[in-house]
């Protein structure tokens, strides 16, 4: 039997189970019930096809291992977890939070082509396919990304890969107020971060284009090694257009905002977010009920 079939047997069909990857985002979605059985997804890069720009990888593989394989062919997957040595592909997809380059490279959900998961009934189910364009049937792949393992336990996935940018430069400059043009007049920057006092920008692409864009920023800007330390107290998500208003009540240095994206990292804890509208909550409940009628997958976690 293959690793996936073994995983399905391990998950079984009866008792409550939770799946653990590197436990780097274990608290997202609330605590799982303490006495559930813990399982782990299989690991390993199954097949990297650089010329198709995709990779088949088991969900338990760490990001560092995957990145190492892709790197040898000059490729990457821009998932960018904070702790790549521990974070697993399955965990990153289940939580669905992108890293700092989302502005240019897009959300986690855009990089996933196929997911093979174990259903609540213990069956292996396939969603999507290993091709870059596909509208054959309903889009379960998007549904599963960010579902916190409450609809199915991810076993193996196919991701898009991308050529590594030829050049990348971080620059930083002063910005007491939010710039009127959030993206500073740059063409598709990879990241624009703001802490209420300074800005950090990541430019990626052809070396001389990167240099020209850096020049465009002006003399007040300086080269820097990378982004500032990202505050880990809390995380907010807001429409990018709301960041300016929100920041009025928050002192510089107490946060780091991803401009153009709307993710804000806080040094202190984040206030609980408002509940979904009742009609949306009802839809979420119905989805959960169809996929996991007995509530055995990651009980306690709430994606809804």
């Amino acid at each position: 039997m293959g690793a996936l079939e073994d995983f399905a047997v391990e998950v079984g069909r009866d008792d409550p189970v939770a799946v653990r990857g590197g436990a780097t985002q274990w608290d997202v979605g609330g605590p799982v019930h303490p006495d559930v059985r813990i399982v782990a997804a299989p690991a390993g890069v199954v097949d990297h096809r650089p010329e198709e720009m995709l990779v088949r990888v088991r969900a338990g593989t760490t990001m560092a291992e995957l990145a190492g394989v892709l790197d040898r062919a000059g490729q990457m997957v821009p998932l960018d977890p904070a702790d790549p040595e521990r974070a697993t592909v399955g965990g990153i997809l289940s939580v669905g939070r992108a890293g700092l380059r989302r502005l240019r490279h897009g959300p986690v959900r855009d990089h996933v082509l196929e997911i093979r998961y174990v259903s609540a009934g213990g069956e292996l189910v396939k969603a999507g396919a290993p091709v870059v364009k596909n509208v054959s049937g309903f889009d379960l792949v998007r549904l599963l990304v960010g579902s916190l393992g409450t609809l199915g336990l991810l076993g193996e996935v196919v991701l898009r890969t991308y050529p590594r940018p030829r050049a990348g430069r971080w620059l930083t400059g002063p910005a007491p107020a939010l710039p009127g043009q959030p993206l500073l007049g740059l063409y598709r920057p990879s990241a624009v971060l703001w802490d209420g006092g300074r800005l950090w920008v990541l430019l990626e692409g052809h070396p001389s284009d990167v240099d020209a864009q850096a020049h465009h920023l002006g003399p007040a800007w300086a080269e820097t090694d990378g982004p500032p330390a990202v505050p880990v107290g809390g995380r907010l998500s807001m429409a990018p257009g709301r960041v300016a208003t929100w920041a009025r009540d928050h002192p510089a240095g107490s946060f780091l905002a991803e401009l153009g994206v709307g993710v804000v990292h806080l040094s202190g804890p984040a206030a609980a977010s408002a509940a979904s509208e009742p009609a949306v909550a009802e839809l979420n409940r119905r989805v959960k009920d169809r996929f996991d009628p007995t509530g055995r997958l990651n009980p306690g976690r709430m994606a809804a």
Partner: protein, 475 residues
């Protein structure tokens, strides 16, 4: 009250059509399938859509959402037994751009806004809506969302789902919900993502928030001729293999190139066995380097001609050639059947050879014009439906095409969707458990199966019965 009088009370007389001739206009989409519309409604507002849905549900009638009717998989074809024909909800009059936020590059639009109209509307702001189906002059944003449509420039920019942030949807009980949102990490499941590509089976989208993309500061448009189809296909593979993702990489074979040239006189090379239309975009230096590398890769594979558009007018002309392909075919053949499958893009040369073979074996003329960069084939089979047997041969060729692509590790559809056309082929790609999971999603949205019944997922009994279509549908 009768169904029609209740609908008239909810809308008005002019926007509820129940006469035979008027309904007949809505029996079809752009595919060759035909159903029967019960009553056709043209709401203007969200409350009107809610009212229509409630009235239809109360009368036990299905609801078929419909945009511009350019779908090619029968998605908007109304299916229902005699006396129970669906209510068709046409969104073409809900065609306003509601709000544009240029700073944050988002717009809220009504579903009936046409794809190209949206891009034209925001062009003065330096923005555009990146998905650009070849039908973009005619198709609606609501249809794009429902089919998760693609287009030439989706190679680099991604298909519709990557460009839709949120939508307001009327569900089967008439309730309005907002799926997704402008915030990047919403609560709950990605219901937005689940709805995109749902082909009208989960609700009616009544407003859509789209992400707008900056117009590129630099671009190069190349038209490259090749002595063989294989050389063109190998160039596609080589470009991707070299780590270049062009904005678009389209292929046209000699037959379609000739038809296009006679139609639009764009100066496409008449002697080439295949041409590639390749566009690279971004910032100037990267674009110049990528264009030079593409030309080199093409010449190393025997390219016989390379033409680079000198200005916007020439670029428009080259794209006009590509986008007029279907119009050009319509001039030379009474009917055509446009297919849509995807294969791994490293296997294009081999699969194209099979496509010509199977067309020949069935005695069917085929032309190829397609999104080569992502392996998305669009063989066009020509026929004349008045000649007995021709359509059957086209269908046989289509059936073989689908099987060849699935065997090669491909899929049933890259952008047109499953609809009725490929519903009964779904078991070729998915196991019963896979299909059940997809059906569960639909069931969560629409437990009463009010919307667009009989589409996308084969019903259990029909699984083994390929090629069947529901009663009341004519092909």
């Amino acid at each position: 009250m009768t169904l029609v009088s209740e609908l008239v009370a909810a809308l008005d007389e002019e926007r509820v059509r129940s006469g035979g001739l008027e309904r007949a206009l809505y029996n079809r989409d752009a595919s060759i399938m035909e159903g029967r519309a019960g009553v056709v409604c043209f709401p203007l507002t969200t409350p009107e859509v809610q009212a229509v849905v409630k009235v239809a549900a109360a009368h036990g009638r299905a609801v078929v959402p419909r945009g511009a009717g350019t779908g090619l998989a029968g998605g908007a074809v109304p299916v229902g037994a005699e006396g129970h024909e669906p209510v068709v909800v046409v969104t073409t009059r809900m065609n306003r751009v509601l709000e544009v936020d240029a700073h944050n590059a988002v717009a809220w639009v009504q579903p009936g806004v046409l794809n190209l109209d949206l891009s034209r509307h925001v062009a003065p702001l330096g923005l555009h809506f990146a998905p650009d189906p070849s039908s973009q002059q005619a198709c609606s944003i609501g249809g794009n969302v429902a089919n998760n449509s693609g287009g030439p420039h989706c190679l680099a920019y991604g298909v519709t789902t990557a460009h839709v942030l949120a939508m307001d949807v009327v569900l089967a009980d008439g309730v309005l919900v907002r799926l997704g949102g402008l915030e990047p990490e919403g609560l709950g499941y990605d219901l937005r993502g689940a709805f995109v590509g749902s082909e009208g089976t989960m609700g009616v989208a009544v407003a859509v928030a789209v992400r707008l993309t900056p117009l590129p500061p630099a671009l190069r448009t190349l038209l490259i001729g090749f002595p063989t189809v294989e050389a063109a296909a190998e160039t596609v593979t080589a470009v991707i293999g070299a780590g270049i993702i062009p904005a678009a990489m389209e292929m046209m074979d000699a037959r379609i190139t000739k038809a296009v040239e006679e139609y639009v006189h764009a100066g496409f090379p008449a002697d080439a066995a295949a041409v590639l239309l390749i566009e690279v975009d971004g910032l100037e230096d990267g674009v110049a380097a990528a264009a030079a590398e593409v030309i080199e890769l093409a010449q190393a594979r025997g390219a016989t001609s390379v033409r680079m558009a000198a200005d916007a007018a020439e670029r428009d002309l080259l794209w006009k050639g590509r986008k007029s392909a279907f119009g050009a075919v319509a001039r030379i053949a009474p009917d055509y059947y446009l297919h849509d499958t995807v294969v791994p893009r490293t296997r294009l040369a081999e699969i194209l050879a099979r496509v010509y073979e199977l067309a020949d074996a069935n005695g069917v003329a085929v032309m190829n014009v397609f999104h080569a960069g992502d392996g998305n084939l669009h063989p066009l089979f020509l026929f004349d439906r008045r000649r007995p047997g021709e359509l059957d041969r086209v269908k046989a060729a289509g059936d073989q095409l689908i099987r060849v692509c699935i065997e090669a590790g491909g899929v049933l559809s890259g952008e047109h969707g499953i609809g009725l056309e490929k519903r009964d082929y779904m078991p070729l790609l998915f196991s019963p458990a896979d299909l059940l999971a997809q059906d569960s999603l639909r069931d969560a949205f629409d437990p009463s199966r009010l919307f667009n019944p009989d589409k996308v997922i084969p019903s259990g009994s029909r699984c083994g019965d390929l090629q069947s279509v529901p009663p009341g549908v004519w092909i």
